[in-house]
Symmetry: C2
Subunit: 456 residues, 2 copies
């Protein structure tokens, strides 16, 4: 029996070795490309585009490799409880156990959500044609709620959110909590308001498409908001001092991290990133949302749209339509219509792919300082593919969670520093004092750029 177990285990290890061997070979090839990319990288900014290609290639690999294990492999009892079932959980349940699924069961679970006639074209809402004029009129009537909070500083609403259900992964909600704390800190320092969404406004537009009905609703309900900043829940601020160069975008309505060539020339599906973007509150924005939306409705429409996008875009894997691919497609195929109002920003990390940033934090601390926003000190570190809330992500869960802790602490240190504290290390939850109190608190006040509040 023991011998049989040992040989079964060896067979599994051998098969895993083979699979990893193929991956290793591919990694070697990509390493060469990385080196090539590094040698040719621009002075400061965000790394050459091929590095992002590598990123997404890895992501593609992982999507098609063995599914990553969840954080904790469910015990046999839990696996039985987690099997989809129509009714309440019974069977192996111990009388002494509270069934968490029963407690958290929502009375609407499983009820058919949407009844729209799917042969009719999808719409985000009644067509609005003159929002610019309506908004101007409203602003004139409400001069005390201006759309600019200071000269050249627009009123910005940062919008993010997550599912109203607890995460399938037990620690997922803890990372969502740290992520919103991180956003609260940045926004407090920069005079930005926060909206955390936990409501699915349109069941047809679930998943990544849920942001469209939400964004439209918020724009129309808040005419005082000049710019809406959408930010994914898996993106964190890692430069607490960097102020977005608002003036740079005064003639643009949509700002995303990306590269013109990758979008307009290559139609590369990762030519831009919709995990962190700025959208102006205007008619143009309503129009582009209306243009994107038809690819979103769950089911056949989204699947077919996904096939179109895979066909039309460079390097896109096979999966249902997502809003980022749709954006690349719309911009690339309707450049004349939208292009002049879209700013693809790459001089700082409005979105920064975590894979190429997180191992460099210590080096950044050594060499640089907050306020740069770019590859020296990234504004945003975005954990694409990690999916801490889900059972499975695209990357090893241990790496994701450890790196998310480091990114959080990297940003948090910039807050704690103003109070004379710092994390003991980037890996540590614990904090230590880095500045003794003097009894003269005014001397100790630092603003968020680290500048003392009063000249000494």
């Amino acid at each position: 029996m023991l011998n049989r177990l040992i040989s079964q285990r060896r067979a599994r290890q051998f098969r895993r070795l083979l699979r990893n061997g193929k991956l290793t070979l591919l990694c070697l090839v990509l390493t060469v490309v990385v080196l090539r990319g590094n040698l040719g990288a621009g002075r400061f900014g965000t790394p050459e585009k091929d590095l992002d290609e590598i990123r997404e290639t890895f992501s593609y690999i992982r999507k098609h490799a063995e599914p990553r294990r969840a954080l904790v492999e469910p015990s046999k009892g839990q696996r039985q409880r987690n099997k989809p079932s129509g009714g309440t959980e019974n069977g192996s349940k111990n009388d002494a156990e509270f069934d968490v699924k029963k407690i958290l069961k929502d009375e609407d679970d499983g009820v058919e959500e949407f009844k729209r006639d799917s042969t009719q074209p999808y719409s985000l809402g009644p067509k609005i044609e003159n929002w610019d004029q309506m908004r101007d009129e409203w602003l004139k009537k409400h001069p005390n709620v201006a759309n600019f909070i200071a000269e050249k500083k627009p009123r910005v609403l940062l919008v993010t959110g997550s599912s109203p259900k607890p995460c399938e992964n037990p620690v997922g909600d803890h990372y969502l909590l740290k992520s919103i704390k991180n956003k609260i800190d940045y926004c407090r320092l920069h005079g930005i308001e926060v909206f955390y969404n936990m409501a699915l406004l349109d069941a047809e537009m679930a998943g990544f498409w849920a942001k469209l009905p939400l964004i439209r609703k918020l724009l129309l309900s808040h005419p005082e908001v000049e710019l809406l900043w959408w930010m994914d829940s898996d993106a964190m601020f890692t430069d607490m001092a960097f102020e977005v160069p608002w003036e740079r975008y005064k003639d643009h309505n949509l700002v995303m991290h990306g590269w013109n060539e990758m979008v307009y020339d290559q139609k590369n599906w990762i030519g831009l990133n919709t995990g962190s973007f700025l959208l102006r509150n205007c008619q143009w924005s309503l129009d582009i949302l209306d243009t994107l939306a038809p690819m979103g409705p769950k089911g056949k429409v989204r699947e077919e749209a996904g096939k179109l996008l895979t066909r039309e875009l460079k390097d896109r894997p096979v999966f249902e339509a997502d809003d980022q691919s749709a954006m690349v497609y719309i911009l690339a195929t309707q450049k004349d219509k939208w292009g002049d109002k879209v700013y693809l920003e790459n001089t700082y990390y409005l979105h920064g792919y975590w894979g190429i940033l997180v191992d460099k934090y210590e080096e950044m601390i050594q060499k640089y300082h907050p306020g740069l926003g770019d590859d020296r000190w990234p504004l945003v570190t975005h954990f694409v593919g990690c999916k801490p809330c889900a059972k499975f992500g695209d990357y090893p869960v241990e790496r994701c969670l450890k790196q998310m802790d480091r990114a959080f602490n990297f940003g948090d240190d910039q807050i704690l520093r103003t109070y004379g504290f710092s994390h003991k290390s980037l890996a540590s939850r614990g904090v230590k004092r880095i500045r003794n109190e003097t009894g003269n608190p005014l001397e100790e006040i630092r603003d968020h750029t680290g500048v003392p509040s009063l000249p000494s």
Copy 2:
């Protein structure tokens, strides 16, 4: 074997019945008191004080009854893993399982945190004597960062927080997430800034005492803040429209929900609540923090202080010193020193005990409206004793979590309503449309009091 299992089970059931019988008798007695209290309740405000006594009596009962089961009874394997151990987890661990404790193990876990000489009196920091003057000077030098953001409207910083560790209860972090979203919503509507703390600034002052070093640090670092509003993570806003009557407190430095007689005459440990309070940024506040702090340091000091407080206060159970009991004690024994600057508020629920509120939400919706803040529509519903983050709380976990969902939805509906949505019921995560879009978005804009933005 089966017969033996059945008889063991019956024996357990019988013993449980006996225990519950004692509880049932006590509940009957208390029900009579409740009725008496209800018949004598004031017109509007917050219920008669004896109801809170009942609350705390129940809390006391539960503290001494069978410990409440956690949300999910750990499996045998998990129980072994969760046993405190000095090193890494081994033994029964399956190779295929990721050990969540290993992944989340903080390199500082178990390291002795504080080395202060405990024979020396504890201090929150160097003694500051002239903070009022220092603060005035700072405000004069920074006229663009005024301590009043509008006439009669002070700059308020709402401070809350939770542990940097994931909750022991798997769904605890989800409730912390909903709680901070709730606070973000209220504060956005009321021009209040938020600080979410996840750092333990002083390891000796862990637990409920952690707020003291934090509050002191924030007051001294933010002279622009006029009032600091501490709010527990288990308290939620349930009246999104109610504006705190700031002017009422212009001559006071500390505002808590409570009753003068219960504090100054009875020295009742629940005569006030420190789960939600306002503290002015001034020398007086630094002084009262300094006065409370000596009861806080973990270990012998806190235990001995706890015994003193149990002896001196009415109805206080036996446990280590907590900040609320310390506050009652200090105020009651030093009334001449502090009393004139303390406002014990009970005309609205700056803190509202959840037990007497949550079953009435539907009735409130029927009869009343947001903006009242009192027992008709409570400003704050505070889930004292529920402890969703911990393994065990003072109340049945199912009741706590379901009621926290209801309270969250009750508050969230007041936000969603402005966008034309509502939860399907107070128990449901799902939302439904309650107002169709017309194509004229300005007509649909409601401010947070529900008043249309433009006259129709």
